[in-house]
Subunit: 338 residues, 2 copies
Amino acid sequence: MAATLKDVALVAGVSIKTVSNVINDYEHIRAETKQRVMDAISELGYSPNLSARSLRSGRTGVIGLAVPELSLSYFAELADSIIKAAERRGLKVLIEQTGGDRDHELEILSSPRLQMTDGLLFSPLGMSNEDAHHLRVNFPLVLLGERIFGGPTDHVTMSNVESARAATAHLLSKGRRRIAVVGGHRGEVIGSAGLRLRGYQQALEEANIPFDPDLVAYTTFWHRSNGATSMRELLETGVEFDAMFGMNDTLALGAMRVLQEAGRRIPDDVAVIGFDDLDEGRYSLPTLSTIDPGRDEIADTAVRVLQERISGRDADLPPRELEARFEVIERESSALPG
Amino acid sequence: MAATLKDVALVAGVSIKTVSNVINDYEHIRAETKQRVMDAISELGYSPNLSARSLRSGRTGVIGLAVPELSLSYFAELADSIIKAAERRGLKVLIEQTGGDRDHELEILSSPRLQMTDGLLFSPLGMSNEDAHHLRVNFPLVLLGERIFGGPTDHVTMSNVESARAATAHLLSKGRRRIAVVGGHRGEVIGSAGLRLRGYQQALEEANIPFDPDLVAYTTFWHRSNGATSMRELLETGVEFDAMFGMNDTLALGAMRVLQEAGRRIPDDVAVIGFDDLDEGRYSLPTLSTIDPGRDEIADTAVRVLQERISGRDADLPPRELEARFEVIERESSALPG
DNA sequence: AGGTGAGTCTACAACGTTGTAGGATGGGCG
DNA sequence: CGCCCATCCTACAACGTTGTAGACTCACCT
């Protein structure tokens, strides 16, 4: 069916290897020969068989990306950024969804399913720090997210503690003192929830405000519905608060909706800030203040680091922890005279 | 590095081909031999080299999915559904982003970049019906979306006209008579915008209400910001309306936000319905009525049809047009006494 | 004149797999 | 008893590519 090197060689009247050399920009080829080969290539519409090439070279030019679910906006936007970053480096991306399920995540690490890829960008959700040893695999792996620290691989992450502290400080700077938090995970220390809670506490400490556990709402997931439910529960307890920190934008949006139903004005009665800088927060009512966690930088760094590991040039480098720069973005939900 | 058939054969004391036969469930193998081979496989942690296999077989087990952008929620959720559908059929998905750009779309069809895939699910945005001939390619291709009809390939789509008619009829059933539309594309006949506008007009006709061109707001894209801008323009013209049909949920949400800023109550002053059934509309304020376009069904059908074409069994079947079932979902934004 | 080296090209093997053809064994049947 | 066929296994070639080694030419230097 499709033309091969052999066909091109026949048409151009040269050896197979010469055609291969032309394709791979080998230096020492006469201009005339090169031209003949090029003509034959376009005449036959030849294009290299990537399976054969990757069998020979051991490289596929494809990287895997394992995320919980694309229907979670954060991961959709992350995947978007990563695909673009990969494209800039000549790589394709094969996406795998784990559903945030630990077993599914472990399976992806152990099983040979994700062959056809040169390496993996892995964003676990179900795994915890005790599973770190499972990351010791025999293929290039770059870890994303906040579930595991100090693992055996490169890790690209956001500054969770610092940025959560900045988010909280932002609310404090607006004169708020009773700041509710939505999205905690009970008993979690490491993980986005644990780290962001720590940042929240640090900010309170710096402002000499005692930490009130009643202000923390716990959820299992970080969907919109969890934000809504948590806020409903929080309101039922009758605890007072004049601000809210949503551990991600989706939670914040869900919670904001319930607050408004309950008649609280935002930001007047309750100032709100989220985390992630989703596009959605730009058009919510009110628009949502948030933390821009540096998604493009994360994507770009992750792909670059993975490609370096794939190339094998830095095989002996120890695992690196890389943090992206963040930024506080003030929008209507916290726009108050400072 | 990794174990090969040869290594396994050596350990098991059989020929390479016998190992291959075991792996491929060939019938005539003695139970004892089979066991020995299996033992050797797990001892060595052997797993087949997919590049070699696909070089031999011509199949990769990977399908391509080309969409405009994953940061558009609709496509993120579509990709989610498609990856799940593909997984059920033992296929992996490689995602390519076109940015909705016609040139980029044509490039994907013509260039050999997306080798390593057995076929392509293609959701164009920049191409139009005149580009249909570009779809005549020499690899299995299934078309998604509403940009091109009657092309040379299988096409899985939603019932745009019927469901837009149903959405409009829903607003009419609530007693509304002046229904604004947000998201029109000037001069478009085919394409989501054109088709949905036609459905809107059909519903009006059935209700004997004259079509008022002033009620149609045109946009170039279907982002949140376009919905917001369109609604702002609409309000400036001073045209009166008591309902709004957003051609997709994102537009509707953007527009809803502007309506509320302008002091219009939803649904009291303006009843709103969108299109797509994004998760987001479940937690907006108010929750957004919408059309569920049957995304899972679309994904499942598309993957199934593509796989059939890949298998080659139905090579001589003419191109099929397949439409998913839709459903009107009433939420708060249009909840009125019927 | 002979040797050296750069430039240009080719033959061959190898990557790991599976299809094809066929060899060896043993049971059933005429 | 000899033949045939099913069962079980193997050797070999092929998929399309690239690395290795080397052949050949020609200019240049000693």
